[in-house]
């Protein structure tokens, strides 16, 4: 039996006290010294471990508190109050919510799936990926020995052009020339985040993580310095048509390169194919309303991999009333199915991939793999304060991380995400990630259900 793919996770503590959800208000002055202090009764000893981080201005109690409310209820004089920390509530934005940020922090710290024992109190549908429900019909029975058991669930995907058919000669030997193909053990490619203090150390941490995971990291050619050369096998240099000639020496010898789409790309593609026949070319196409036509044209022209990218929130680029990435990727996927080219081409989607479930949902919508970028920055403790965009110092000094520490945090996050993918696949009864691609039969879309049920009564939604 071949060796199973495994990500080595290891508890990796954050360097700074994370922003906690709780806001414990302690009215200590009124204490009557009753001798039965509610603080001593804390089963998690958060009051003993309490410390104040003067650099961050964070009180560790807000992070350590598990919200059991025991102290609030036990204090005889009612001196302890609990609220929600406003600094926590204001982290991130409407898409990258405080919950997403803090859950990713926990996963990057522990490498384990976050478990909430208090049930799910939120809505059952929402915008974006939340309007999509995945099928868990096979969860009725426990698997024989769990997701890591004998029934191996494969999360590998292939990046590259797949031939429509193979030709053999009379002796039975293969005649067709096989195009280069990269098998990734996880359907996640890494990308440098669009903002943040992405220093040399951060890039090394990400490249190191990519090499340990066996996946790839997209690096703009201008940020591709000599210190990254040792991870060459796991790097994809990104160039534009204009900068391609300038960075020619950086492209050479890579398994894949990425070119940002613009008109007249065909000539460059031919040139690269001639000069670097063993290199897979990924074409980065913006999801701006023209993606279906562009992808179709590129697919007919023989493109191997298309990287469809939305904005940081997974929205259509440059539109006042944008569509969401899941709908746009689905349209591209279905168009390629229609013209019978879907199996030959690889689709990679990026933008708004914030949680493990987004990976599965992106693949169900038709992508072969997704690109993680901002989530990687969150693994390195980013709070999405966007101080970097204002040229102010990073509150968690991401630029000065230890690369080994950063790589381990990313490995932990990836491990937790992959385990969730295994859970999703196991619950669906699917044992192969490649089979999940475009498998909308394993999901339900709220908009479709709403139209189906209420559309007949109330007409088309305006």
């Amino acid at each position: 039996m071949p060796k199973k793919y495994h990500i080595d996770f290891k508890a990796t503590l954050p360097r700074y006290t994370p922003q906690g959800k709780s806001g414990v208000v302690d009215f200590r002055e009124g204490c009557q010294r009753c001798g039965q202090c509610a603080k001593k009764a804390c089963v998690y000893n958060v009051y003993d471990k309490r410390c104040f981080d003067s650099g961050q201005m964070t009180d560790s109690i807000d992070y350590l508190c598990k919200n059991c409310f025991r102290c609030v209820q036990s204090c005889k004089k009612g001196l302890l109050n609990k609220s929600i920390n406003p600094e926590y509530v204001k982290m991130g934005d409407a898409y990258w919510t405080p919950e997403i940020i803090s859950t990713n922090w926990t996963q990057a710290e522990t490498g384990k799936i976050p478990v909430s024992g208090a049930g799910y109190g939120g809505p059952f549908s929402g915008p974006g990926f939340d309007s999509m429900w995945t099928d868990m019909s096979e969860i009725v029975r426990p698997t024989r020995d769990g997701i890591h058991g004998r029934e191996y669930i494969n999360t590998s995907v292939d990046i590259g052009k797949k031939p429509a058919m193979l030709k053999f000669n009379e002796q039975g030997a293969l005649e067709s020339l096989l195009p280069p193909l990269i098998e990734l053990p996880i359907p996640m490619i890494m990308g440098l985040p669009p903002f943040g203090h992405v220093s040399e150390k951060v890039r090394i941490a990400m490249a190191l993580a990519a090499s340990k995971l066996g996946t790839l990291l997209l690096v703009p050619a201008e940020d591709y310095h000599d210190s990254l050369m040792r991870y060459k096998k796991h790097l994809i240099p990104q160039v534009s048509i204009e900068s391609c000639a300038q960075f020619k020496n950086k492209i050479a010898g890579h398994r894949a390169i990425e070119i940002i789409y613009s008109k007249g790309i065909e000539g460059l593609l031919k040139e690269i194919k001639q000069n670097f026949p063993d290199t897979i070319v990924i074409i980065k196409v913006p999801l701006d309303g023209k993606e279906v036509e562009i992808t179709e044209e590129l697919a007919i022209g023989g493109a191997a991999v298309i990287h469809l990218h939305a904005d940081d929130h997974g929205n259509e680029i440059g539109k006042a009333n944008p569509r969401f990435i899941k709908d746009m990727v689905r349209r591209v996927h279905l168009r390629l199915v229609e013209i019978c080219l879907r199996d030959q081409i690889t689709l990679v989607a990026s933008g708004g991939i914030a949680m493990a479930e987004h990976v599965a949902k992106g693949i169900i919508c038709g992508a072969d793999a997704v690109v993680m970028d901002i989530a990687l920055l969150i693994a390195l403790e980013c709070r999405l304060c966007k101080n970097c965009e204002k040229h102010r110092p990073c509150p968690v000094t991401i630029d000065s991380i230890e690369p080994a520490w950063g790589a381990q945090r990313i490995l932990n996050l990836m491990s937790a995400w992959r385990n969730q993918l295994l859970e999703v696949l196991g619950a669906m009864g699917i044992r192969e990630m490649r089979r999940l691609r475009g498998e909308v039969g394993r999901s339900m879309f709220f908009e479709e259900l709403e139209a189906d049920v209420f559309g007949r009564l109330f007409g088309e939604k305006v």
Binding site: V25, M57, P86
Partner: protein, 137 residues
């Protein structure tokens, strides 16, 4: 008098007193020198918060609380006032200048009052000069 010193200021702000204090501070002259920490109630602010901030080298700490009698926790702003007084006494004893810490009472509609009072406080710190502990460090 020409003042070249730009103080670094920490503002603890009750979430019920001023809405979006961070946005308001962006309109100040040197927003990069001002850190705003929002609290569920100023009663959460312990004396150690301010003392550690001074130890770290910050030049002034300003606490923005609700108006008296309007605290959502009933007496959080009164407790904050006590703690600030304690810190001011300690600053005086340490000869750091008791004026480096101040309490402002602002209600949720008082964004103009907040801006004015906070800028007055910054000017006062400018006049006091840099935190001697920062120079010692």
């Amino acid at each position: 008098m020409e003042i070249s010193f730009i103080p670094s200021i920490l503002i603890f702000c009750c979430q019920n007193s001023v809405s979006s204090p961070k946005k308001l501070v962006e309109e100040f002259e040197h927003p990069e020198r001002i850190k705003v920490v929002e609290l569920p109630c100023t009663g959460k602010m312990e004396a150690i918060y301010a003392l550690q901030a001074f130890e770290k080298g910050l030049d002034g700490v300003c606490v923005v609380a609700c108006l008296e009698g309007t605290c959502h926790y009933l007496e959080g702003n009164l407790r904050a006032a006590n703690r600030i007084h304690q810190v001011a006494v300690m600053l005086n004893e340490l000869k750091l200048g008791e004026g480096r810490i101040a309490l402002l009472h602002v209600d949720s509609a008082g964004s103009d009052l907040f801006k004015q009072s906070a800028q007055d406080f910054i000017r006062r710190i400018q006049a006091l000069g840099p935190n001697p502990l920062k120079q010692a460090a």
